[in-house]
Amino acid sequence: MKADPIGVLTGTHFFDGDHACCEGALAAGCRFAAGYPITPSTEIVERFAQRAPLVGGMFLQMEDELAASIAIQGAVWAGAKAFTVTSGPGFSLMMEHIGFAAMTETPCVIVNVQRGGPSTGLPTLPGQADMMQARWGSHGDYELIALAPSSPQECFDLTIHAFNLAEQYRVPVLVMMDECVGHMTEKVVIPPASEIEVAPRRYTRLPRGEYVPFHAGPDGVPEMVRAGEGYRIHVTGMTHDEQGFPAPTVEAQQKLVQRLVEKIRRNAEAIVRYEETGVEDAEVVVVAYGITARVARRAVELARQQGVRAGLLRPVVVWPFPENRIAELARRVRAFVVAEMNLGQIALEVERCSAGNAPTVLVPHGGGAVHHPEEILEVILAQARTEEVLR
């Protein structure tokens, strides 16, 4: 399905990442946003509040992030596409409802413009330290999808992609921006609506009586309905059977949780997306995402200038993680260097996936500013040299 032109601001713009994200949501067909002000994410919904009434949408400022993250789900079950945006402390408050969306298979998008934490941390400065919280933050076993844009253009593109993935897999999708990407201004090209693919909701065609709300198709994803259409569905965050009713049994739990997890794991190869630069012949592969990937690219260039075969792997989809690709590379590279604006999160994942076949070296950063390319370069060079000595 193509985007509805009413929401698409076709043209070449000079936008910051926050505004680009808002335009991405509108282009994707999002017509409901709820949120609670928090730096550095607020500009997204400020723009939405301005733009939405002109395109048939609505922004609702809620009393807190708990409210915002569940109000969007009410809107979704009424038939709208909906999102909320936040940062650190607000993201923490949303955890329960990320789990609710996973459990009830409510397609929705949550944007986290990451700042330095923990707690109030650095309200106006960047961080990337919510990456594991994004993956594991709500209680229980579940899977979701998280994307990490590294430019305003990608804030636009990946927000659309987030809405599409949410509809396709009926999961909450997280857009893990950071303050730098959110506040940096660059050229953003918005194509004509006819060139923007949007995923429609997977509504059932079955009549009431034949429709089984949580009976999954071959890809593990059940078809949906919305309130008010006569299906008289029940939706609960409790462990439920295929009809949607509470089923507090070991069997129902196993069946449901397994499916919720499998629908992402089994489709992971289709969901995973990463970008590689100079990885083909690389001896040292830098893994970096978001704004840090841009700094890392410079470090890789500098390393190449010094004759070290370095490459960059940038996960665009961070969760699910490009597990197979890392495992494959681990069998032939000397080392992974992971640069991220935290004290070691995605590095743990790279280490896990490389399964001891190549060392993983972290270039940490406490947050508040991006790395210097030289910091990353130094580690790349050290890895290249160490390996030579060992050989």
Binding site: R31, P53, L60, M62, L66, A82, P200, E229
Partner: protein
């Protein structure tokens, strides 16, 4: 002498609105929640509304399980958050009649912030609160409505905190319709629920309901029937009473009736009016008109 002819069992008129296949329900014998559901089913029946367009949203608790037993589109959300879920739903599709049905702990304990803001916004939500003076589902702890000196599992020496006067809270925060009955008042309950279904704006009904298993037993109030009789004895009909005066104490009177029924433009009225006025022809209307079919 002919054998007595047995009249065929008349189908329970409320059955059409209930998910009979989900019975037996989870509530204890003597619990008041089921009684209120019956009243609600009756009100729905009599409302002549298209029930395909009526949605019930609950939070978590014994009362939160109501959503699962009504044959409507029903949403059993998270603890305290039924109101914000309902808020998103109503705004995204104003044609739905959205009823929030939950417990006192859920709505005004953990969900208290949402409650006051929803009343302030005056979005058209019908909020039905089962007040059993305790947290039933978790085993009878004190809650935001437990009266001073009442016993609960977490106030073994009596509660030290005054409970909320819910009608007063609702009115102060902006509700346009506020009523209270007990589970003894089944006809009045159905009538009030019917009025709420027709009212535009944030309407609130508090139902004093027995939890004989926990609150009743601990406070020696007897079984469900005894508690109901007690409610009946303590009830004082006070239509239009200033809500400030209707707080409830442990053995004190229970003011019942309709306390507030006023007109105030609802959230959607104000929104549409204001956006229409400022944006004129540019205003693209509410969300629902743009939800693709």
């Amino acid at each position: 002498m002919s054998a007595p002819v047995e009249a065929p069992l008349a189908a329970n008129p409320v059955e059409a609105v209930l998910r009979s296949f989900r019975m037996p329900h989870i509530w204890c014998p003597g619990c008041g929640i089921g009684t209120t559901v019956n009243c609600f089913a009756r009100a729905l029946e009599q409302s002549k509304l298209n029930l395909d367009k009526v949605v019930v949203v609950s939070g978590i608790g014994c009362s939160g399980r109501v959503a699962g037993y009504l044959d409507l589109d029903s949403f059993h959300t998270t603890h305290g958050r039924a109101i914000p879920f309902a808020t998103g739903m109503k705004i995204a599709n104003p044609k739905l009649t959205v009823v929030v049905y939950s417990g006192d702990g859920d709505l005004v304990g953990i969900g208290g912030n949402h409650f006051i803001h929803a009343a302030r916004r005056n979005l058209d939500l019908k909020v039905i609160c089962i007040n059993n003076f305790t947290y039933g589902m978790t085993g009878g702890q004190m809650g935001p409505t437990t009266p001073v000196s009442a016993l609960s599992s977490t106030t073994p020496f009596g509660c030290f905190e005054p409970g909320f006067n819910l009608p007063h809270l609702a009115e102060s925060a902006g509700a346009v319709y506020v009523a209270r009955w007990t589970t003894y008042h089944v006809r009045q309950l159905a009538h009030t629920m019917g009025e709420m279904l027709r009212k535009n704006g944030f309407s609130f009904l508090e139902i004093i309901s027995p939890c004989p298993t926990l609150y009743g037993q601990r406070n020696r109030l007897g079984d469900g029937l005894a508690m109901m009789k007690h409610f009946k004895q303590q009830s004082v009909l006070r239509h239009g009473a200033p809500t400030k005066e209707v707080g409830i104490e442990l053995q004190g009177p229970i003011a019942v009736g309709k306390f507030v029924d006023i007109e105030r433009p609802s959230f959607l009225d104000v929104m549409n009016e204001q956006l229409g006025r400022t944006l004129e022809a540019e205003y693209a209307g509410c969300v629902k008109d743009h939800v693709p079919d």
